[in-house]
């Protein structure tokens, strides 16, 4: 199997899997702790509508995905801040509306679109160098963000009230976290698929939550689980010739079950 690594397409796919396996679980810790994880699922589907939009009008699907996802999240953040809606309700509404749009766009496009399907189900072998560069930059920026502002992020997660009282710009941090979640979901879609992004976002950090008694350990554990899932999933998919997104999420799920069994909580 290792001789396959002579192929650049396999090497790229492997690198993309590893980056996604780090990025989504890292973001997932914050999504889980701020109870915004469901936004991740919504963002992926809204972004998929953007993909369909891009394909329909023959421009970059990735650009369409960014456009739709960022605008929606900015709107939801603002609406929640103004007490118009909660994240859950806002996202539920946009989730289904944008899925309707996605289906509409795909219908209008007429010809069968393999490209749309690769975003929906994930197709790590079609990941381009640009995709990998975007993934890498996102991993780098988010890691720096978490590293530099760990104290502040922990404070907000522990208690919004205490963080506000100590003078932190909580809304700005919340917005930045949502922004990173949005970007992370969009750049990961090609590799694991819009339908499966949520799994890698939530499962490793949920597993880590079962085991860790301190937040920095939870983050480290979630990264370990994410890496195991993505690397093992990648090799299993190569060996058994099954879609890698599915393999990765199934491994992540098994790790979650194991962590429930070994949890001392």
């Amino acid at each position: 199997m290792l001789e396959l690594f002579a192929l650049s397409v396999i090497r790229k796919a492997f690198v993309a899997s590893v980056l996604v396996g780090l990025l989504l679980p890292l973001v997932g810790n914050f999504a889980l702790m701020t109870r915004t994880a469901f936004l991740g699922a919504g963002i992926a589907h809204i972004a998929f509508a953007g993909v369909a939009f891009g394909i329909m009008l023959s421009f970059s699907p990735l650009l369409g995905a960014f456009l739709f996802a960022l605008l929606s999240v900015a709107f939801i953040w603002y609406a929640e801040k103004r007490n118009w809606i909660t994240y859950d309700v806002g996202m539920s509404i946009l989730f289904s509306f944008f899925m309707a749009l996605a289906i509409l766009f795909l219908g209008l496009t007429k010809q069968y679109s393999g490209e749309a399907m690769s975003y929906l189900f994930g197709s790590v072998l079609t990941v381009s160098t640009v995709d990998i560069i975007l993934l890498f930059i996102t991993v780098l920026l988010f890691s720096i963000f978490v590293g530099v502002f760990y104290k502040e992020l922990f404070h907000i997660i522990l208690s919004r009230d205490l963080a506000l009282a100590s003078g932190l710009p909580v809304d700005t941090f919340t917005f930045l976290m949502l922004l990173f979640m949005t970007i992370s979901v969009v750049v990961s879609m090609k590799a694991v698929g819009a339908l499966l992004v949520f799994g890698l976002l939530v499962m490793p950090s949920a597993a880590a939550y079962r085991l860790a008694f301190r937040f920095h350990r939870m983050i480290l554990l979630s990264l370990v689980f994410g890496l195991i899932s993505s690397i093992a999933g990648f090799f299993i998919s190569l060996t058994l010739d099954i879609p890698s997104g599915a393999a990765i999420v199934i491994i992540a799920f098994l790790l979650l079950i194991i962590s429930f069994i070994f949890s001392r909580k």
């Binding site: 502002f149 104290k151 502040e152 922990f154 404070h155 208690s159 009230d161 909580k265």
Partner: protein, 259 residues
């Protein structure tokens, strides 16, 4: 200048004012109780003091600085929030939580050093939780969590201590521990304390001022002015009684079966 000044402060949510033209000052070494029925704006008063909630009208000065400006003195307020339940599995130890009390003073990027870490351990001991620093915070009892948050509030030697119902929802024995922790801190540090509580009797001997909030009205004064049946009844209704035993006043409710 007084440590805290509220001057004709009006605070609302939407169109309905919660606090209306509230004026009071807190001098050095004062022990102030903020009391009143549910929903009369006690927490709102605290948030306004902290600069989290903006007043529609009026001025709030804390340690000589208007709170709406970016005041370095805001970091000098130790704050214990009203009880919020925390997930028992939340990934933080008591020590982690207490240490967050140093974050405001550290500012961005700088991490707690040896000094802050030792201070956290010393304060954990001071509130009677020695040896529990590595316990998951969410697994502590309600009373222990409250004392942990008091230790957190004392990080960095605040110049004012504000506590929002620290004894609510805590069992009798733990209430006693929380109360005596507050009393000891006040006696040792003599920093002004603002205490929101329904549990006034144990604190009456220390109290120098009371802010009594009612629906659409409020009273501010010393305990001789406020702990009187005719005043309390304006806010709480006719079942309130003030009794005096061995020279000390107690606020009670008259059991209406015997009324």
């Amino acid at each position: 200048m007084a440590e805290i000044i509220f001057n004709e402060v009006t605070v609302s949510y939407g169109d309905s004012p919660v606090l209306k033209d509230l004026t009071f000052v807190v001098e050095k070494e004062e022990f102030v109780i903020i009391m009143g029925p549910n929903g009369t704006g006690k927490t709102t008063l605290v948030k306004t003091l902290l600069g989290v909630k903006k007043p529609d009208k009026g001025l709030v000065y804390v340690l000589g600085c208007p709170v709406q400006k970016v005041c370095p003195h805001r970091k000098k307020i130790g704050y214990v929030p009203q009880f919020q339940s925390i997930d028992p599995d939340f990934p933080a130890t008591l020590y982690d939580v207490v240490l967050t009390g140093s974050y405001a003073n550290l500012g961005y990027v700088k991490l707690p050093g040896k000094e802050e870490k030792e201070e956290a351990l010393r304060l954990i001991e001071e509130v009677g939780l020695k040896g529990m620093e590595n316990h998951p915070f969410g697994r502590l009892s309600g009373g222990q969590q409250r004392r942990g948050l008091i230790a957190r509030a004392l990080m960095g030697s605040p110049r004012i201590l504000v506590l929002d119902e620290p004894t609510a929802g805590v069992d009798l024995a733990s209430q006693n521990q929380v109360r005596s922790t507050i009393q000891e801190i006040y006696k040792r540090t003599r920093i002004p304390v603002l205490l929101v509580t329904h549990d006034i009797n144990p604190f009456l001997s220390l109290v120098t001022k009371i802010v009594l909030l009612g629906y659409g009205k409020h009273f501010v004064g010393g305990k001789e002015d406020i702990i009187r049946e005719e005043i309390l009844r304006e806010v709480y209704g006719e079942y309130v009684r003030v009794i005096e035993v061995a020279g000390r006043k107690y606020v009670m409710t008259r059991d209406y079966h015997y009324a």
